[in-house]
């Protein structure tokens, strides 16, 4: 295990705000939120290793909020679960969570790669409270399923959910791409302005989506060659899809492309 390693000294008794705990930061003097208090990072974690652009949290926890929030470069690895706002507002770098993540994971992400091997909570890649737009760039891959309103008001970037999405995925989506490998929850794409949903079934799409027929799309050939994540999702030879336009009830020009398995 290279780089800096944070090993929890014990079980957490309150939520831990890891804002600022990033590769390259002065972790020895960093103060973090712990419940209603500010404490030294070293009070909760044993800090070991040498800085080389990689930060590992050896043992996660659902209490760990804001992990890799604002990350600009380097790599963050969590060997367990994390709490809310994973990689919120990050602009670069790579994040790997070997467990599951809480609500608002990758919300307002602008760049970099975020991978969650397990499930994520509500509003993956969405806009946080008070924000107008959700994720605007970068790539998010979720190995499991996502909670309600994944990609709500997403503005750009690529989200791949290998499992299911709960109700309201891509609500008010502005642009970007959401790929769902499993089942799509109800009312997906409601209010969608632009953007693309990549699906294996139209089941779950909001009422404002209309079938535009099956097409051989050159664009798909480009996507799978420029995005390893989409190539893994669609297969390298994907060219044909059934196109549903929507949300027409909101005068939207988004689309859902449905691929037969």
């Amino acid at each position: 295990m290279s780089g800096i390693v944070l090993t929890p000294r014990g079980a957490f008794e309150a939520r831990v705000d890891l804002t600022g705990a990033l590769p390259g930061a002065d972790l020895a003097s960093l103060k973090i939120g712990y419940g209603g208090r500010r404490v030294a990072l070293a009070e909760l974690f044993e800090i070991s290793g040498a800085a080389d652009g990689r930060l590992t949290v050896a043992g996660g926890g659902v209490e760990l909020d804001n992990v890799a929030a604002g990350l600009t470069d380097g790599e963050v690895v969590v060997e367990g679960d994390v709490g809310a706002r994973l990689a919120q507002g990050a602009t670069g770098g790579a994040v790997l969570v070997k467990g599951s993540a809480g609500d608002y994971a990758a919300s307002e992400l602008a760049g970099g790669k975020v991978t969650v091997e397990g499930d994520v909570g509500e509003r993956l890649g969405a806009a946080s409270a008070g924000a107008r737009r959700g994720m605007s760039g970068g790539v998010v891959t979720v190995g499991g399923s996502a909670g309600v309103r994944a990609a709500e008001r997403q503005r750009g970037g690529v989200i791949v959910v290998k499992g299911d999405t709960a109700e309201g995925a891509a609500t008010d989506m502005i642009a970007g791409t959401l790929a769902v490998g499993g089942a799509l929850g109800a009312k997906a794409g409601r209010g969608m302005k632009r953007g693309t949903l990549l699906l294996h079934s139209p089941e779950g799409l909001a009422a404002g989506f209309a079938d535009a027929g099956e097409h051989d799309l050159v664009m798909l050939r480009v996507l799978v060659r420029r995005s390893a994540e989409l190539a893994a999702f669609l297969g390298a030879d994907a060219t044909r899809a059934r196109r549903f336009a929507g949300d027409l009830n909101a005068a939207g020009q988004g689309e859902a492309l449905v691929f037969s398995r």
């Binding site: 642009a175 480009v222 689309e255």
Partner: protein, 298 residues
Amino acid sequence: MILNGVEIRDSFAEAFPMVGTRLIITADTAKWAMIAAKTMTGFATSVIGCGCEAGVEREIPAEETPDGRPGVAVLIFAMDIKGLKSVVPNRIGQCVLTSPTSACYAGMEGGESISIGKALKYFGDGWQIAKKVGDKRIWRVPVMEGEFVCDHETGSVSGVGGGNVLILGASRREALEAAEAAVEAMSKVPGNILPFPGGVVRSGSKVGSKYKGMFASTNNFYCPTLRAQTETKLPPEVASVQEIVIDGVSFDAVSACTRAGIEAVVKLGRDKGIIAIDAGNYGGNLGPFHFKLREIMA
């Protein structure tokens, strides 16, 4: 310098700075990719009358193109960036967007950006779709056939225009056969185009004219039929001259292309009616790039 009986004259090609870009044109078949490429690089032999110089650089196998279909790389050169920004979207819009199954992608990074989809998206009349993956944006413009896909923009490079080789032959047939051999060899050198018909110019020009408003006129010093009337640079046994003009992305590219062409002609030799290799210049005072034939062949 004599190579295989062919005199390499102590001369040089005088070339000028141009700004250029590369585009990758793809289609469902190699045939249609080439049709689109040749159409969009048509009427682009000389900036004097065409506003740009363009040509096919090479065919690209499907596995190397951005969409996995057969492709063709084209190079387009103009005298300045403003000119290039004008001609590239126009030519793509009229010749590639219109060509069945085609798509158009950036062929180079860096330099000042040249619009592709950034300009052509408006043909979609509001139905166009942008898709950004990584740091690249593509446009999907709905057309009657389906969708025209293109990159948002391409890069540009400071290149070299007007490299040239003159082939002095004992007959019209022999000079042209040598020119064809040279073109075949030069077309394999990456980073260059030979913008004239089939890569060959039979009407090389000099700067200026006796007529007002003419920027260029026939190069009488190399016209075999004018021997008795004007100063000539042709030996008595030369009956025909063909020129090959080269535009390239760098001095080195044009230099390598020049050498490949001369080597192909020299290989034919004096026995095939090739008397000498020469080059066009203006005394060295106009163009900053000098391709000295004997240094290139040394």
